[in-house]
Amino acid sequence: MIAKLKVWRGAPGAAGRYERYEVPFEQGQTVLDGLRWIRVHIDPSLAIRFSCINANACKQCMVEVDGKTVYACTTRLTEAEMTLEPLANKTLVKDLVTEIAPPDER
């Protein structure tokens, strides 16, 4: 199966753009799996934030998928196109990464 991911790319102070990626996947794989696959196979400059990979313990991989805030590590890939964007209510760092640390931990 192939997942079609439309990913917002950009940095603060410049106009962003969407890039489309086709990612092979097996039933059960997640959006985070797909993003990691893109970094290894297509473009290592894609910025994503996560630590624990799959356990949903670090709570760092929040992104917007089709306008809804989700954890990338627990959202399953599908064959329908998904639009991935950084959190709208947080300061952008780069691509899908936003500033999510508490203000006194920066």
Binding site: V40, P44, S45, A55, Q60, D104
Partner: protein, 518 residues
């Protein structure tokens, strides 16, 4: 976090730096299992019994002074965590303690349901927030320790979101960066477990010890695909419910009779031997079955977790799951004395980054315990040293002369993980280890460039690759030299344990190369 709290309590001003978010990126937050401590709440117990089990599990290779510290100071730490409201599971008015493999009695405390690590992290974070003396800074990656005349005077760091270089001046520095399990393709680690602290300590001139001993957790989840759960989650299930570990013939091959008794190194070895003998499960592991347990029993033991499993399409009353060994913990690490002092003046280590306390195989439940105990000791000793030292000037920024590498560093990391898993995993041979060394050698030869402005993911991967390759070489060289099998280090070409090898190996950097003292 424990070290910072204790140092602040002793009057020190503390800077707590994390490459990720404070208390959310390391191994502690991921721990879903238990914490070993001789509290004597369940049955009478003393630290000396905990120590005896720790030494037994360590297969003759524990640094006894560290193991003793671990067991003796554990009760005070666990009670302090209790007073801070961590919420250790209780029954009949006392803290509940379960019996884990390798322990002679019920000794392991936990937070329900499979919530030990998150609760521990949250509790420590809450304590940190109350201390004005502790400045917490996330997204700050320490790339090298700062030295003057061989003394550690702080650290060089990069603010990952902006790419800015930062110099930190410190009278005393504690490395508490965890282990190296990210070196392996199959791991239960966070991405921060690439051995950063080992690489920092090595480059600063410290020695590492017992690097060949990487613990593979025998029953890491393998299939079907499970998300939102740590792959180690079957451990607490087995504490409470037993469970049957079966081969492809649906036969128990560990003679546990539905209980959870086999030590980690032995269980790992047994599963891999079943797979090698053609009796593995479809994805190359073993079956773990709770089908003899009723829905009501499962729900009473793990209520909310049963719902999370259902979301993954898993019904334990109707199907077994597949499990297989997964890199989980590193017994080796930075060599310290019982005051957590490394070989470099003013540099301390704590937690999993410390080597030696657990010998050749860690007793289950000792990891969070050592994070508490060693952190507490390191924090106290570092604060005492800082109280009488004068503040060093900040180190000059590092000159970075390396050039960006052309191959994709994220892909290089994946290749390194595959090599380590195949050749430097739970079953090792001379040929495999030599092949791994050859591959690692090719990865080692580059200088780290300066990051670009802004968040630079490729530079982060290069940074990680540089540390991972250095640490991988240490593990592989030590594994090649140890021509015996002991605990987590199993050589197919040297299957016996040898009395002559009841000794530690250390590594250090010499002229840029890894030097092994056997």
């Amino acid at each position: 976090m424990y070290a910072a709290l204790v140092a602040a309590r002793a009057g020190a001003r503390v800077m707590l730096v994390d490459r990720s978010l404070i208390g959310r990126g390391g191994a502690t937050v991921m721990a879903q299992m238990t914490v070993a401590v001789a509290l004597g709440e369940e049955v009478p117990d003393e630290p000396e019994h905990h120590l005896a089990d720790t030494l037994q599990a360590g297969r003759g290779l524990c640094d006894t002074s560290l193991s003793q510290l671990l067991c003796e100071e554990a009760p005070a730490c666990i009670r302090e965590m209790d007073a801070w409201g961590v919420g250790w599971a209780r029954k009949d008015g006392h803290i509940s303690q379960v019996q884990a493999p390798g322990h002679d009695r019920p000794r392991c405390v936990y937070v329900d349901f499979v919530n030990t690590g998150p609760a521990v992290s949250k509790t420590l974070r809450a304590q940190l927030q109350r201390k004005a003396e502790i400045q917490r800074t996330g997204d700050l990656l320490v790339t090298d320790l700062a030295l003057r005349e061989g003394v550690c005077i702080g650290a060089h760091a990069v603010h990952t979101a902006t790419g800015e270089a930062v110099s930190i001046a410190a009278k005393a520095t504690i490395v508490a960066t965890g282990g190296l399990t990210r070196l392996y393709a199959r791991n239960s680690a966070s991405i921060n477990m690439g051995g950063d602290g080992y690489a920092l300590a090595l480059r600063a001139g410290a020695e590492l010890v017992d690097m060949e001993f990487v613990q593979f957790f025998p029953i890491g989840h393998l299939a079907p695909r499970l998300v939102g759960m740590d792959p180690i989650m079957w451990d607490p299930f087995r504490y409470k419910l037993g469970g049957r570990l079966l081969n492809a013939e649906m036969r128990e091959f560990l003679h546990e009779h539905g209980r959870y008794t086999a030590a980690r190194d032995l269980a790992t070895y047994a599963i891999l031997k079943e797979v090698a003998g053609g009796r593995g499960s479809p994805h190359g592991g073993a079956w773990l079955s709770f089908m003899h347990r009723s829905e009501a029993e499962l729900r009473a033991a793990f209520g909310p977790v049963i719902d999370r499993l259902a979301k993954n399409g898993i019904d334990l009353t109707r199907q077994p799951v597949e499990v297989a060994p997964i890199a989980h913990y590193h017994m080796g690490g930075i060599r310290v004395d019982a005051d957590m002092r490394t070989g470099v003046p003013h540099l301390f280590a704590a937690g999993e980054a410390v080597g030696g306390a657990n010998g050749a195989n860690r007793l289950s439940g000792n990891a969070i315990t050592e994070a508490f105990v060693f952190g507490r000791r390191a924090g106290a000793r570092a604060a005492a040293l800082a109280a009488k030292a004068s503040m060093p000037p900040p180190a000059l920024p590092l000159e970075r002369s390396g050039a960006k590498q052309s191959p994709n560093p994220a892909a290089e990391i994946v290749r390194l993980q595959a090599v380590m898993n195949e050749h430097v995993g739970p079953l090792r041979t001379r040929q495999g280890l030599e092949r791994a060394l050859e591959r690692i050698g090719k990865l080692r030869a580059f200088e780290l460039p300066a990051p670009a402005a802004g968040l630079d993911p490729e530079w982060l991967d290069l940074h990680d690759l540089r540390n991972m390759a250095l640490v991988a070489e240490c593990v592989t060289r030590a594994a090649l030299a140890r021509t015996e099998s002991r605990g987590a280090h199993q050589r197919e070409d040297f299957p016996d344990t040898s009395n002559g090898w009841q000794r530690h190996q250390t590594v250090r950097l010499q002229g840029g190369g890894v030097h092994l003292d056997s």
